[in-house]
C-alpha cells in the first residue's frame, strides 16, 4: 500500500511499473487518472488550486486504501494525489490497484476514487476570467457514487 501527497506532477508509467515490479502473483492492474477539466464556454477555467489538511489527508488516504485491501484480495495499491495550483489538462490524482484477477482490480480502483472524493480532506478553488475565484461545491452525485459501496457492503452482510 502506497500513499503519496505531493505538489509535483507524477509519471503514470513509472508509478505503475514500480507498483507491480517483482510481484509475479499480479495478473492485472487497474488505474484511474483524474485531470483538471475545462469545459470551455463563458466560464473557461484558468486554474484550480487544491488545498488539503496535511496529516489528516495522508491518514484518510491510508485508511481508504486499507479498506480496499480488506474488501478485495489486492497484491498492490497506490494513491498519488497532488495539491497546489494546477492548470487545465494537469494530472490531479492517480489510483491504481493490482490483483491476481481483473475484477478485483477494476472494482477496488473504482471504490478508491469514489471514496477518496468524499472522504479525503481536499478542497478545490477554481479561477475563471468571468467569475473570479470560486470554491467548488461538493456534488450529490459524488456522495451517491461513494454510497453505492456502502449498499454493496450491506448486501454482502445480509
Amino acid at each position: 500500500m502506497v500513499v503519496k501527497v505531493q505538489a509535483e506532477d507524477f509519471d503514470v508509467g513509472e508509478e505503475l511499473a514500480a507498483l507491480t515490479e517483482g510481484n509475479w502473483a499480479i495478473g492485472g492492474m487497474s488505474s484511474f487518472v483524474g485531470l483538471v477539466r475545462d469545459l470551455g464556454g463563458a466560464n473557461a477555467l484558468k486554474a484550480m488550486t487544491l488545498e488539503h489538511y496535511p496529516g489528516m489527508t495522508e491518514k484518510m488516504l491510508r485508511a481508504i486504501e486499507a479498506e480496499a485491501n480488506e474488501r478485495w484480495p489486492l497484491e498492490a495499491s497506490l494513491i498519488v494525489h497532488r495539491y497546489g495550483r494546477l492548470e487545465p489538462g494537469d494530472r490531479i490524482v492517480l489510483v491504481a490497484t493490482a490483483s491476481a484477477h481483473r475484477q478485483a482490480a477494476f472494482d477496488s480502483c473504482a471504490f478508491l476514487i469514489d471514496w477518496l472524493k468524499t472522504k479525503a480532506p481536499f478542497w478545490k478553488l477554481e479561477e475563471t476570467d468571468n467569475l473570479g475565484e470560486r470554491w467548488v461545491e461538493a456534488k450529490q452525485s459524488d456522495d451517491q457514487a461513494a454510497d453505492r459501496w456502502n449498499r454493496h457492503d450491506r448486501e454482502a452482510a445480509e
Binding site: G34, L50, E51, H52, Y53, G55, M56, K59, H81, I92, V93, I113, L116, K117, T118, K119, A120, P121, F122, W123, K124, L125, W135, V136, E137, A138, K139, D142
Partner: protein
C-alpha cells in the same frame, strides 16, 4: 486547543490556525461552534450554517455531539471536493 480552518472557512474567518483556551462549558463540537460564533461577525457568518460545515477532532471526522477538550486538534472545513 488547536483549531484549523480550511477553504472558504479559512477565508471568511481570516485565520488558518490558532491556539485557544476554551471555557469549561465548551464540551462538544456544537458548543465549540456556538462559542466561536460569538467571537465576532466574521465567525458568526462563517459558521452560521451547520449543514455546510464539517468538523474533524484529532484528524477524525466528528459529529456535533462529539466531545472536545483543551488538548484536542479541531479542524473546521466545508464538504470535501478532492479527486
Amino acid at each position: 486547543m488547536k483549531i484549523l480552518y480550511f477553504a472558504w472557512l479559512r477565508q471568511k474567518t481570516g485565520i488558518d490556525s490558532e491556539n485557544v483556551v476554551v471555557p469549561e462549558d465548551v464540551s462538544d463540537v456544537a458548543s465549540l461552534i456556538e462559542w466561536l460564533k460569538e467571537r465576532n461577525e466574521k465567525f458568526a457568518d462563517a459558521l452560521s450554517d451547520f449543514g455546510s460545515i464539517r468538523v474533524a477532532v484529532n484528524q477524525e471526522f466528528a459529529e456535533l455531539n462529539a466531545p472536545v477538550g483543551q488538548g484536542d486538534e479541531v479542524a473546521i472545513f466545508p464538504p470535501m471536493t478532492g479527486g
